[in-house]
């Protein structure tokens, strides 16, 4: 399986977004064909994703509670998003979480994929399976199990580490440790999926390239730097962007493990969205905050795609 495009193939690798290619038939015919292929998915997405999104956009300019009457209040909700200190705190936390989660998860996935791509590794199949297993566990169960393991009173992990002279303390109530802890649980749960995608990407790099490099006397680091990384750049862009989207929407395990505490230190933007909508019944505000998050995510993703797109051009 592959999400990148080795240059050994005859066709030109497309840019991560878009990319042009000629197909049989004139434009009207191609448009008609495309419409036929796209219709089922677009009807579903249009009706059940895009339409609700547009409704939410409309609600973001109102004081809607989700039921009853609602009044148009212009940009008031958006102004509040940018001035409410709680929201600014949540934005800071979300960025911290993203910075903790994304590189760690991606690096762990890539590192383990490199190790387990080597045919010389014993028990390769076992390790691959073991590393993927957390992905099938739900966030709620994962959060529950980890909380139990690091419980300051009866936590097994705390107990073992104490035996080794490390005092973990009450991690989830510690203002500095709580965020790394919830980010760690997300890394644990999600890295297996990125790992599999990297494995697939690595598999598509022709071994002839490495052999040639070995003949030229290139060392391991140099081979990684000049062959693996460039040829993985599309896979990397894909994984990074989706890991980042997952990070910016962090909610599930935090809701279970800390509820946003201690004193708001793990409160994320989506926690605020949930709380404003489903606890304070301020659906208009929750919608506005969601759109700000959407725009921010879109911009950050475009930056990454452009960065990887340019690198790829430089390399080819």
């Amino acid at each position: 399986m592959s999400l990148h495009h080795p240059p050994t193939r005859r066709y030109r690798p497309p840019a991560p977004l878009g990319g042009r290619r000629r197909a049989a038939g004139g434009r009207p015919l191609r448009n008609a064909k495309a419409a036929a292929f796209l219709a089922p998915a677009l009807i579903i997405l249009g009706l059940f994703v895009i339409w609700p999104m547009l409704s939410a956009l409309r609600l973001s300019f109102t004081d809607a509670s989700g039921f009853g009457r609602e009044e148009w209040i212009g940009l008031e909700n958006y102004i509040e998003v940018f001035t409410d200190p709680d929201i600014l705190n949540a934005v800071g936390n979300t960025l911290l979480y993203t910075v903790l989660f994304t590189p760690t998860a991606v690096a762990a996935a890539l590192g383990l994929a490199l190790l387990l791509n080597s045919p010389h590794m014993p028990f390769r199949s076992f390790f691959r399976t073991a590393l993927f297993i957390p992905f099938v566990i739900s966030f709620a169960v994962a959060a529950f199990a980890w909380s139990y393991l690091i419980d300051p009173q009866v936590g097994l992990l705390n107990y073992w580490l104490r035996g080794a002279g490390i005092e973990l303390g009450n991690v989830l109530e510690d203002p500095t440790l709580a965020m790394p802890a919830v980010a760690f649980v997300a890394v644990w749960k999600l890295f297996g999926f990125y790992f599999v995608i990297f494995l697939a990407g690595l598999q598509d790099i022709p071994s002839s390239l490495y052999e040639a490099a070995r003949v030229d006397g290139a060392r391991a680091w140099s081979r990684f730097r000049h062959i693996t990384l460039p040829l993985l750049s599309n896979t990397m862009a894909f994984v990074l962007v989706f890991a980042m989207i997952a990070a910016l929407q962090a909610f599930d395990q935090i809701y279970v493990m800390t509820g946003g505490g201690p004193y708001g230190n793990t409160q994320t933007v989506v926690m605020e969205i949930y709380e404003s909508g489903f606890r304070k019944l301020d659906v208009g505000f929750a919608s506005a905050l969601s759109y700000v998050l959407l725009i921010a995510t879109l911009l950050l993703s475009l930056v990454q795609f452009v960065f990887f797109g340019r690198r790829e051009k430089e390399l080819s």
Binding site: F67, Q153, N170, G261
Partner: protein, 418 residues
């Protein structure tokens, strides 16, 4: 936009045809059917189910069907249901959650119901009813109201030679010190005198109780009153007991406290009637005592559950729901509900002897007078409770109490002004 809407409308219509056949009937004059959402999942749920069945059997015009959810998921699902005009006819929820729904117009006012003599509301505990009021109008009927109390491990008390349960804060802390055991002297006790949460769940009721005990409070007549000398003293007193004398671990939430107690690692915990069943389940011999009196008075914040009727109901359905409330609150069912749920009776005219067969209920009934409503009429209770959480948690962690109280005052006032 308009074109998009038409297009989507057409798509939706087509899908309706596919998915048709599952829609319900309308008001066609048959018996009124009511849906009732609640979060009573334990023994209390079984008793409630019995009362509902009895009600259905008692007449031929109304049939109630219940849907059991957790209290949390009632919040998650009620809003979406209301948004589609499909809310349940009756919904039960934690009482401090009622004002926000009522203020947004989700619930039907019940003043006329309360005024009706046959509603059986005349003798309801007024503090319980206070939690149903927003801007002078009542929107709910209490289904539970119980003051927080101390649940203590009698075996550990005997071991420590404490015969009588403490009556004042000083005695309370002293007893807790006696019950705190640090055998290996490493500074981390193996057994704590008490588990006092500093945030979330029960802590939301515990700290207001402690504030009341010294004559302070959080919100009075719609104004924040948290920044007071009394509250500063309260926080200093308990910080010194928790951190200085190590009578309780820090950083606990209510659930953590309950677990410590049920694991036999804390001799006392503050909680509600559920602690009785948890203690039994964990083979812990326990007794219940009222929260000891503070320097100013003896008071305990109460936990309340409210039942309300949503505006998604027709007039006939509202009338039917009120009929059920009256049935639920009649003398026989009040006793039955109290005995079965383990919560004290909501009616003050039911004597403790009537519920004597359940000792938990009997002891809780005796302390009913101490119960104070939690944040009655406060719409944005979420932010108020968050501010109090932050206050208590940071105070226990050692930050300056006066600064914290000042910050909490501002945040709570902002939440009230929202």
């Amino acid at each position: 936009m308009t074109r998009m809407r038409t297009l989507l409308g057409a798509g939706a219509a087509a899908l309706t045809l596919i998915g048709a056949g599952c829609s319900g009937g309308g008001d066609d004059g048959g018996p009124v059917e009511l849906t009732f959402w609640h979060g009573y999942t334990e023994a209390d749920g079984d008793v409630l189910e019995e009362i509902v069945d009895d009600f259905n059997a008692s007449q031929n015009d109304i049939t109630i069907s219940t849907e059991v959810k957790t209290w949390d998921s009632i919040d998650d699902t009620l809003l979406t249901a209301l948004s589609a005009g499909e809310g349940p006819n009756i919904v039960a929820m934690p009482a401090e959650r009622l004002p926000v729904y009522a203020s947004k117009g989700a619930f039907a006012p019940l003043d006329d119901f309360y005024a009706d003599e046959s509603s059986n509301t005349a003798n309801l505990n007024p503090n319980a009813v206070a939690m149903e009021e927003i801007d002078g109008e009542k929107y709910g009927v209490p289904s539970g109201f119980v003051p927080l109390a101390v649940y203590y491990n009698t075996a550990l008390f005997e071991e420590a030679g404490i015969g009588e349960f403490p009556r004042t804060w000083d005695e309370w802390v002293q007893a807790a010190e006696q019950l705190t055991v640090d055998e290996d002297g490493d500074g981390t006790p193996e057994q704590y005198g008490i588990a006092l949460p500093d945030h979330a769940t029960v802590a939301n009721g515990l700290w207001p109780s402690l504030f009341y005990g010294n004559g302070g409070g959080i919100v009075e007549d719609g104004e924040a009153v948290v920044d007071s000398q009394e509250n500063a003293e309260t926080l200093e007193f308990w910080r010194s007991a928790i951190v200085g004398d190590r009578i309780s671990p820090t950083g606990l939430d209510g659930i953590g406290s309950d677990e410590l107690f049920s694991g036999g690692k804390a001799a006392m915990t503050v909680g509600g009637p559920w602690m009785a069943s948890i203690a039994t389940e964990n083979d812990i011999d326990y007794a219940i005592a009222p929260l000891p009196a503070g320097p100013a008075e003896q008071a305990a914040s109460a936990i309340g559950i409210s039942m309300a009727t949503t505006v998604d109901s027709s007039d006939a359905e509202l009338a039917a729901a009120e009929e059920f409330f009256a049935f639920f609150l009649n003398e026989e069912n009040s006793v039955k509900w109290s005995l079965g749920s383990g919560w004290p009776p909501l009616r003050t005219d039911i004597p403790a002897e009537a519920v004597a067969e359940n000792p938990v209920v009997a002891s809780l009934t005796e302390m009913s007078d101490l119960g104070r409503p939690l944040l009655p009429g406060v719409v944005n209770s979420v932010d108020v409770l968050t501010a109090v959480d932050e206050l208590t948690q940071k105070a226990i962690a050692g930050e300056d109490v006066d600064t914290l109280l000042g910050e909490a005052q501002t945040e709570i006032q902002d939440a009230l002004d929202d």
